[in-house]
């Protein structure tokens, strides 16, 4: 199998879907000749032309409005917002319209669209271009929220997202675009609501999302040398969430830590921690369920401070040790 980047894996899924399904098209700012802010759509204009790879004005409101309308009329639009932070301008269309239509019209219409949102910190893009607001989206009934952490997962989940008849919020981590892994050339689906155990372990279950999956795996490698074996679970899709895999793992390891990049306070990790506490895993807990998330601060521009604002590998190691008490 060949290795490709996270960015190319996403592109490959979109390209393959657009080749097989005329209804699929992509729209966004500078996605044509420029290839998008992170180059994800580079080359797509050449293959599919300006009808299906549509450059838009700098208006997330317009992009999302057009997408909702097109989706209701039978198209399957993919929206690229340059930075997930800009989704705020599109929220009325996404939350009040896209997420509600199928419900309010009793199923007479549906809104099959994929909102691609490059998110996360670590690239020196400061407070307005570095946020992780997936919890906002996960809070809204009617939206599917996906957060892939590997090129393999990104390709499979993108195909699933495009073919889903509901609005899908697809969080791409900017820091992962250049990460590589084995990705099959053929098309494949990854079902929604199926978590992936990225690494098996005995002493503690880390439930990590986005770029924190990679950091947790790095932490696991170092902890292994110190005799602490952690299990790393990537939910992959926040909505729907694979509760079963998480609970089973915690019953096995007796300890749970949720690691996420978003601000710890009111983040999606709180949701995962709560569901563990409410589950049958409670009686198997040997330590308080813990969260490790970002500091409640706007992401600083200063690279050192930016690093300090979100969990790093060392932070995960330290947190795990404080819980495992071995």
């Amino acid at each position: 199998m060949r290795e490709i980047t996270y960015a190319n894996a996403i592109k490959e899924a979109m390209v393959q879907e657009m080749r097989s399904n005329e209804d699929v098209f992509i729209l966004g700012e500078d996605i044509g000749v420029f290839g998008g802010a992170f180059g994800v759509t580079s080359g797509m204009l050449d293959e599919f032309g300006p009808e299906r790879v549509r450059n838009t004005p700098i208006s997330e409101s317009a992009i999302s409005g057009c997408a909702v309308g097109a989706a209701m009329m039978g198209m399957r639009p993919i929206l690229e917002l340059q930075f997930s932070d800009f989704v705020m301008i599109a929220l009325d269309n996404i939350v009040n319209q896209a997420a509600k239509m199928r419900y309010m019209f009793g199923g007479k219409t549906h809104v099959p669209m994929v909102v691609r949102l490059p998110s996360g910190s670590g690239l020196g893009m400061a407070a307005q271009h570095s946020q992780s607001l997936e919890a906002w989206m996960a809070h809204v009934p009617g939206l599917i929220v996906i957060q892939p952490s590997t090129p393999y997962d990104a390709k499979g989940l993108m195909k699933t997202a495009i073919n889903n008849d509901n609005p899908v919020i697809f969080y791409e981590h900017k820091g992962l675009y250049n990460s590589k892994s084995d990705v099959p050339e053929d098309e494949y689906d990854i079902p929604l609501g199926v978590a992936d155990v990225k690494k098996e372990g005995e002493d503690l279950t880390v439930i990590a999302t986005g770029i924190m999956v990679q950091r947790s795996l790095q932490a696991a490698e170092q902890l292994e040398k110190e005799g602490i074996s952690i299990e790393v679970i990537d939910p992959r899709t926040l909505v729907p969430l694979d509760k079963e895999t998480i609970i089973e793992s915690v019953i096995k390891t007796n300890r749970a830590l949720v690691v996420y990049e978003a601000v710890e306070r009111s983040g999606y990790g709180a949701e995962i921690a709560s569901l563990i506490g409410e589950s049958e895993a409670f009686d198997f807990l040997d330590a308080p369920i813990s969260r490790l998330g970002g500091i409640a601060t706007p992401i600083p521009y200063n690279p050192s401070l930016e690093k300090a604002a979100v969990p790093q590998v060392e932070d995960i190691i330290e947190k795990v040790k404080s819980i495992v008490q071995k």
């Binding site: 040997d286 008490q325 071995k326």
Partner: protein, 450 residues
């Protein structure tokens, strides 16, 4: 603060106990639940256990002393603690004992209630404030452990799974000093002993039973067969007879030369008429019947310890060894039957017994029993009476011996008979007469013709 160890009241009727044996010496370390002293009541011997941790400071009584219940018998406290105050207490208590009950009654009720409340709440607080994780609690519950005994290694002393696990694994199980000493004396491996005391503490009895098991295990190379079925029936019948009937066994040596001659002559005759081979067994049975007919006071049985039954019929049982044990088929009205018929019947019934197809009726109704070991190198033995018979005849082998006959040494075929009888209903003289008559018949078998 030293605590008094009181003589417990172990039953409603127990008023005092006698100090049997101190299990610890003054100065020995004591843990709550350790047996300190053995006390005998009028019914049992009990071990009095310490109710607090510390050191046995003072024994107040010596073995043999009798002590009323609820009286202090020892002090347990911190090492080197002064117990003179407590001793004074005891003395003044003893003098004030008579009005002690009155003083309790005089105390205001509210005060007593208050004390009760404090007692109960402090207990609840003690167990409720233990910091532990859910799985630690669950594990402790599953293993019947008290969290109070476990030290937490987690943050703020929180008891975690690993603490419960290591507590479980700890080779140093809770054990009383006596049990500890016994375990090393008996070489009992403590890890294989489960404690039956408070919180799984190993106590003396656990070591005793573990030691017993250990010894049983050592012997376990032997084959073991459940004690049941016919073996158990035989056992209980033997015991019943042996332990209820006072057995007397008398022996007599019989000159069988004439009987041997008789058998030699009758053998082809009976073989031709009945198709069976006459053996000494039948000759002895027939002779016994003849002697019983003369001595009706031997052909008896004791019924329900109320009546002695003098049997009309002479039914002789003869012991047959079978694979599983022993059966006694019965030949009926032996005195009425000739040797030919008797031989035929005896062979047939013995065959049935050996094949295990004999009916219970054929095993019932004997009035006398013969046990013949003549085929073995046995001269004489003391048979156990086959109840409800009153007597049994043991038959030894026939052997040629030099015998003095009318001043001359002759070679004769000799045999020893052993008669066991129930002395409750048969006296020595009648038994001796019977044996003498039987000897007469066997030595002069033509008497069978009479």
């Amino acid at each position: 603060m030293a605590e008094k160890l009181l003589l417990p009241k172990m039953g409603a009727t127990m008023e005092e106990g006698t100090i049997e044996n101190w299990l610890l010496e003054e100065g020995d370390k004591v843990e709550e639940g350790d047996a300190v002293v053995e006390v005998a009541t009028d019914k049992v011997t009990i071990e009095v256990e310490a109710e607090n941790d510390g050191v046995l400071l003072k024994k107040l009584y010596a073995p043999g002393d009798t002590v009323p219940v609820q009286q202090a018998i020892a002090f347990i406290g911190d090492e080197g603690e002064d117990v003179s105050d407590l001793l004074e207490d005891i003395e003044s208590e003893a003098s004030a004992e008579s009005d002690a009950s009155q003083s309790v009654a005089e105390r205001p009720v509210s005060e007593q209630v208050k004390e009760d409340i404090i007692d109960s709440t402090s207990g609840v607080e003690g167990s409720g404030s233990i910091r532990r994780t859910p799985i630690a609690r669950r594990l402790a519950q599953q293993n019947n452990l008290s969290l109070e005994d476990i030290t937490g290694s987690g943050p703020m002393g929180r008891i975690q799974k690993i603490d419960v696990e290591s507590h479980l694994e700890k080779s140093e199980q809770k054990i009383t000093p006596l049990a500890q000493k016994m375990s090393s004396d008996y070489e009992v491996e403590l890890s294989k002993v489960s404690g039956s005391g408070a919180n799984g503490k190993i106590i003396k009895d656990d070591i005793v039973s573990a030691e017993r098991e250990l010894n049983t295990a050592k012997l376990d190379t032997s084959k073991r067969v459940p004690f049941k079925g016919i073996r158990k029936v035989i056992a209980s019948r033997m015991s019943e007879s042996f332990y209820t009937a006072p057995h007397v066994t008398m022996t007599s040596e019989i000159d069988m030369t004439e009987a041997v001659e008789l058998r030699k002559k009758l053998l082809p005759v009976i073989e031709e008429s009945e198709k069976v081979r006459l053996s000494y067994n039948e000759i002895i049975i027939k002779a016994t019947a003849s002697a019983l007919a003369q001595n009706t006071n031997i052909n008896v049985s004791l019924e329900d310890e109320k009546e002695i039954v003098y049997h009309q019929e002479i039914n002789i049982g003869f012991a047959v060894s079978v694979q599983e044990g022993l059966v006694v088929p019965v030949l009926r009205e032996v005195d009425q039957k000739g040797l030919g018929r008797l031989t035929k019947e005896a062979k047939a019934i013995a065959e049935k017994a050996k094949e295990g197809v004999i009916t219970s009726e054929e095993l019932e109704g004997s009035t006398f029993t013969i046990s013949n070991l003549g085929m073995f190198a046995v001269d004489g033995f003391s048979p156990i009476i086959n109840m409800p018979n009153a007597a049994i005849l043991g038959v030894g082998r026939i052997q040629e011996k030099p015998i003095i006959v009318e001043g001359q040494v002759e070679i004769r075929s000799m045999m020893t008979l052993s008669l066991s009888f129930d002395h409750r209903i048969i006296n020595g003289a009648p038994a001796a007469q019977f044996l003498t008559d039987l000897k007469g018949v066997l030595e002069n078998p033509y008497k069978l013709m009479i």
